[in-house]
Homo-oligomer: 411 residues x 2
Amino acid sequence: MLGEIIAIGDELTSGRINNTTSSFAAHHLFEAGFDIYAMHTIGDTPELIGEALKRALNRVDFVLVTGGLGPTDDDLTTEAVSKALNRPTMPNLEILSLIRQHLEKNSSQSASSLDKLAWLPEGAETLNPQSKMAGFQLIHGDKPVFFLPGIPHQMRTLLIEQVLPRLSTWYNGKQLTSIQRVYKIFGKSESEINHKIVQLDLGDDVTIGYYPVFPDVHLSMIIRGSDRKITQALAKESSRRIKDKLGSFIYGKDRESMASVVGSLLARQNKTFAVAESCTGGLVSHLITSVAGSSDYYLGGVTTYANSMKHTYLGVENELLDRVGAVSHEVAEAMALGMREKSKADISISITGIAGPGGGSVEKPVGTVFIGLSHRSDTVVHHCNFSGTRYEIQHLTAQTALNLVREHLLL
Amino acid sequence: MLGEIIAIGDELTSGRINNTTSSFAAHHLFEAGFDIYAMHTIGDTPELIGEALKRALNRVDFVLVTGGLGPTDDDLTTEAVSKALNRPTMPNLEILSLIRQHLEKNSSQSASSLDKLAWLPEGAETLNPQSKMAGFQLIHGDKPVFFLPGIPHQMRTLLIEQVLPRLSTWYNGKQLTSIQRVYKIFGKSESEINHKIVQLDLGDDVTIGYYPVFPDVHLSMIIRGSDRKITQALAKESSRRIKDKLGSFIYGKDRESMASVVGSLLARQNKTFAVAESCTGGLVSHLITSVAGSSDYYLGGVTTYANSMKHTYLGVENELLDRVGAVSHEVAEAMALGMREKSKADISISITGIAGPGGGSVEKPVGTVFIGLSHRSDTVVHHCNFSGTRYEIQHLTAQTALNLVREHLLL
């Protein structure tokens, strides 16, 4: 049960509009048990439309075509299909009568351009004419071909309400069950994770993919089978083995983020949290407060870029700053402690480092970062050496700091 | 000068990841004067990769391939290309030595999987090995083929810095002079800007495009012509007229951001800056410190999510908080003043509001925000009503606050 998706429109090939409909369709078709062999985006060029459709019909079981169904001169899909599949266009009487009704109420529009919408290739069955959305189905050589409008919300509605139910009837007996999980991993590279997972030998029915989504790696597990119960059992067992193997390097799954996971742990343990940042400049605070409801556990934070601010807001002694420098174990410790005590938070973290591109030295190169974590009974400082651009160092530092809080809360 | 784009990855054909890189590439290639004949998205299937590449080479002048260059088992692009174009893979010594250096520092990683990155098809020229990004160029039958990583920020960097300059040399003789400017606009909608620019009647040689890049709108002006001097003169004259028409709604151009523009103004006027945030949770501070060199003018900030923090760190009276509430004109004023006086900054801003989705009321609905701006001689509070998601309200607020600082510094 393999399909192809063809998206049509000059606005797509010029990059003026981001094609979101093809991914949407692929995602929902995939979830429904269909595989996508390829997706194509082409301009409003009749020859290319015909060629792409004929090639797809030769190699897959169904085709979804989006775009180019409107009333204007640059909408050429119907004509192109008619020519390529040798099916002359005919007027569809139901659509024609709807257009007539519409024109009676809106006399300003010219009839001729709208009439175009009623002329469909021979054998076409309209998907939902009452909805006033273009869209039809053709059965060509026993293979269903769906034509949907390119307008995203119309395409989405017709895909879900018309195409998926029709396709599932079409392939009724043969449908497979498919289960997908995404695990989010921080602190291990794609190849290290791959190396560990390969050892598990999960079998042919389990497809594993690795996707670096900086600064994380996402591991996707997909399981397909003809029997629903067996597939579910295999998914459960494979999940358990992956989680055992990667341990706490997996910080969350599916839609969770590091900040939302830390937030849930804080809320569950009824603990409050505060952050003192220097080189990350408010990024940690921003990530935490991107989560709705974070005011339940997050008191706030201080970004002390200048040394004078570290003294004024966190009580770091000027003598200490002069002696060891702002980027140091001692200052990180004093920042974390000062933040926790003054804010009265249960847990605080502090960050001081050099994000670059300037400011590095031989002893403390760009990427040197100290992260302090203070709680009731202790204050611990971690020394990290990151590499990358300013953006990368800031984001690696923020994710590492949040991960330290997560690990502390899991103890 | 016609090209095709091929994006590779099972994560794309399953719709798990939205393919944004192809549109990005199409857009920038189009702006640079190249047309895109078709874009394809296919899974990590060697036969299909080879077939798509060979077909593209038969009908267009250049091909861009993204994805599948990583070190793991499911990265199959290089192998597929090697087979399809009959170019055996060979080790690239420069990349091999970089991998060896990397492994010396990170001994935990297995060498064998990374070594894969150094084996490239015969004749491949790496794009920028020092950047540690995969990516190479092949010349096949006089046609350039570019292979870029699928990771969006790497792909974008290599496209802009390597592919576009190489392509423009390649087609040297035939190329037209083309000048592009991007103006960044905040506070006017796409249609308002369009309405104003249409009145200018800039002529057929000037192509104007509008791209909403939340929370801004970007206006792109492209001028193409065969004579370099005439094109440059037209660009200069058109720029002047656009800037006259839109005035200070244009906050910057090309690679500038609101934070970098504010930063430049602060640096030039030798003024220091501090920020007290509530509902934006550190976002303003993060935006400012994303700019390299921001420590020259940015002292730091405070994120006071809890009321207790507003009292402790900004000196806002508890009585005031009880009487008028944290989201109020009076508290915004007290926060800005407290921030400036305690930090000794020349200028401070304060933000207090309701980002949602919870926390709204009839008197103060979600999106109610007060922004204070304090400088030596005055403290002014602006009352805003934003709408949108939590993400949108936070980003609109942050951009508005920075824009208020910009307008103040321009006075």
